[in-house]
């Protein structure tokens, strides 16, 4: 019978360690609550919150130090499913998505649900089509998988150069949102904040690569969940008397609808293909919450869901994380957890948006501009809202809200203690640090192991492979940090462009490489290139008159990639026997991990034809 090779079970103490982490975090927050009562200055409380969250995750990263390639590249394939699940649920949207989607739901309402549905549907499709099979293969990166699956060094290089694009975009988006959160907690400049975040990322992941990433981001994800779910539960009790606002905010929507009608909140009508994403920074409320297709047209809604979901399913950093489980079955379980947790997060965002609309709009009724209601004033004081251009009478549409700050606005609106507000800010920062660390680690490993070490990496010693990856991680962290300071751009849009690229180019070829035996190396190369070209055309044509928003690029890129793969595969000879054996083996959960076997054989008698 097939049996597991080289599986080391996770440390049985892991649960205890995470218990200790959660206890330290809780103790820290309680301590800050007490200090707040004792009258310690606001500034030092905020800094303390930032330091606690950063120090806890950096300590875990350093503690997970390793010089073994197996640990550095794939975390020893022994991360328990639950930890990966929680990390993936937070890493899929990342800090940019968490801050951006929650704010977009508040500003636009129903139409922004396509973002959340896309993320959860993307994780779902990944477990059906990709992740368990990639786990059986066991390669540390997506390019390494493709290169070895098709025995083509050229394909590996091409895949590496494409996978780098979404990773860079996401890393920049995460650093940008991390800067926003860091500036909320500490009085520092944008440049200083970016340097700080890059430094924390480097200290966290350089010591142990994916091993450090796995454990530190599980801790960060735990913190993010506490920081988002706790205030939302308190708010739910205050608003509906039940702690699960996710389920109980339905009846509230009717009263929100009534106030919106009384306040004259517009009911925009979007064209079929229109896509109106609220921008970063201060934005007025775009339309009534429950009205569908006011900012995103019906077809754009469906294409938007498609774009986000293929992007999430084909994301190189998420896929690399979902293969660090002890077994194929654990990969299915891990993503099952990810779907459940990210589902809860997204339900929370929509309930929070309803609570915020309810409080803000009902407090506004009939107020003159000179007397801004207390709740709104708290937001204006900290720059999360503005009332510029309001006439004599303050109306819902004459107020602007900071899209990426709406999660912070909830505890402020509810009059919760400052420690809760800071906890939320620290949570957003933790999500951004985790997201940036995940992208930068994967970026470094792809550049180090797939490009620099290249197809001959089986010849290199462990120490050499790890050293090259470390240097590459360091270099990429520095470069994306620089990019985040220099490049302008909305973090949420950068994230969605990253999804558009990975969904157009990587997802179709990955899916076909598992589900279609006839695919050839040349077909895969053609598919990757066509997907990328299609995505780029769609992004650039957005400026023209095609009417297709650039974020919906997979609507063009995906079919182009599939057609090119099919056409070129049929034009080239049927793949050889050994490749067909790999495909057959890939589809069966049992037996030795393919990557390990190929590496062992390569060391034994040199690699197969490249």
């Amino acid at each position: 019978m097939p049996h597991r090779h080289g599986v080391q079970l996770a440390n049985p103490m892991v649960g205890v360690y995470f218990g200790i982490f959660a206890a330290c975090l809780a103790a820290g927050v309680v301590l800050l609550l007490i200090l707040e009562q004792l009258g310690v200055t606001e500034a030092s409380l905020k800094t303390a919150m930032a330091v606690i969250s950063v120090a806890l995750s950096a300590t875990i990263g350093v503690g997970a130090y390793s010089n073994r390639a197996r640990e550095f590249l794939i975390s020893g394939r022994r991360v328990p499913a639950v930890y990966i699940g929680i990390s993936l649920a937070v890493a899929a949207p990342g800090g940019a998505g968490i801050a951006g989607i929650s704010g977009a739901l508040f500003i636009t309402g129903f139409d922004m649900l396509f973002l959340g549905v896309g993320i959860v549907a993307g994780l779902t499709v990944s477990v059906m089509l990709l992740a368990p099979y990639l786990r059986k293969f066991g390669a540390p990166t997506v390019p390494a998988y493709l290169g070895q699956r098709f025995e083509s060094g050229a394909l590996r290089l091409l895949a590496a150069s494409i996978a780098v694009l979404p990773l860079v975009l996401i890393a920049i988006a995460e650093i940008k949102i991390g800067v926003v959160a860091a500036k909320w907690l500490m009085p520092i400049s944008t440049e200083m904040a970016a340097v700080l975040i890059v430094l924390v990322v480097v200290v966290t992941v350089v010591p142990g690569g994916v091993r450090s990433l796995s454990w530190s981001s599980a801790a960060q994800a735990l913190m993010v969940l506490i920081a988002i779910l706790l205030p939302a539960a308190i708010a739910a009790v205050m608003e509906t008397n039940l702690p699960f606002g996710q389920l109980s905010h339905g009846p509230l929507m009717r009263s929100v609808g009534r106030v919106e009608a009384a306040q004259g909140v517009p009911i925009p009508v979007a064209g079929l293909m229109a896509l109106e994403l609220p921008g970063a920074g201060l934005q007025p409320i775009a339309g009534r919450f429950a009205t569908a297709f006011g900012s995103v047209g019906p077809i754009a809604f469906v294409l938007g869901t498609l774009s986000v979901l293929v992007g999430v399913a084909g994301s190189p950093s998420l896929l690399a994380r979902s293969v660090t489980t002890p077994s194929v079955f654990d990969t299915r379980k891990a993503i099952g957890w990810a779907v459940a947790v990210s589902g809860i997060l997204l339900l929370t965002f929509s309930s929070v948006a309803v609570f915020q609309r309810d409080i803000l709009l009902s407090s506004l009724v009939g107020q003159p501009t000179s007397a801004i209601p207390e709740t709104l004033q708290r937001l204006v004081d900290v720059g999360l809202a503005a009332t510029e251009g309001a006439g004599a009478k303050l109306t819902a549409t004459s107020i602007q809200f900071d899209r990426d700050g709406m999660l912070l606005a909830l505890p402020l609106l509810m009059g919760m203690p400052l420690a809760v507000v800071n906890l939320v800010a620290a949570g957003v920062m933790a999500a951004a640090l985790g997201g940036a660390a995940a992208s930068v680690t994967q970026l470094g490993i792809i550049i180090g192991d797939d490009v620099i070490n290249g197809p001959a990496n089986w010849r290199a010693t462990d120490a050499h492979r790890v050293m090259v990856c470390r240097v590459a991680i360091l270099a990429s962290a520095g470069l994306v940090g620089l990019g985040a300071v220099l490049a302008r751009g909305d973090p949420l849009v950068l994230l969605l462009y990253a999804f558009a690229i990975s969904g157009s180019a990587l997802f179709p070829v990955l899916a076909l490489s598992i589900w279609w035996k006839r695919i050839t190396a040349a077909g895969a190369i053609a598919g990757l290139s066509a997907g990328l070209v299609g995505a780029l055309i769609a992004v650039l044509a957005d400026l023209g008159t095609l009417g297709l928003h650039g974020l919906l690029a997979p609507a063009v890129g995906l079919p182009m990639a599939v057609i090119a793969t099919l056409a070129v595969s049929y034009l080239t000879p049927v793949p050889g026997r050994h490749i067909l054996e790999i495909v057959r083996d890939l589809r069966i959960p049992g037996g030795e991990t393919i990557y390990d076997r190929e590496l062992r054989q390569a060391r034994h008698r040199g690699p197969r034809g490249r």
Partner: protein, 84 residues
């Protein structure tokens, strides 16, 4: 023999995948085409079309994955292709 098992294992795996895939398609895309007509029905105080996008499809995904992981595991075991 093993070869035979492998093929039957894969055909059962693919048919499970396609069943799930169709369900997934309906809840990822299908329901959103009917938001306005579904909105006339109310459930837990939510309009149904809104509910499906905000919560229903996400809950369906979770349930689907549990069934999927379980069914796939049964197939792997019955065809002798499971790990361990």
């Amino acid at each position: 023999m093993a070869q035979d098992n492998g093929e039957r294992h894969w055909s059962r795996t693919s048919s499970l995948m396609w069943t799930m895939f169709v369900l997934w398609l309906i809840f990822s895309f299908g329901v959103h085409f009917f938001v306005d007509s579904l909105n006339t029905i109310k459930i837990l105080g939510f309009p149904l079309g809104f509910y499906m996008a905000a919560q229903g499809s996400l809950i369906v995904f979770v349930i689907m994955l549990f069934i999927f992981a379980h069914r796939q595991d049964v197939i792997d075991r019955e065809e002798g292709q499971a790990e361990d």
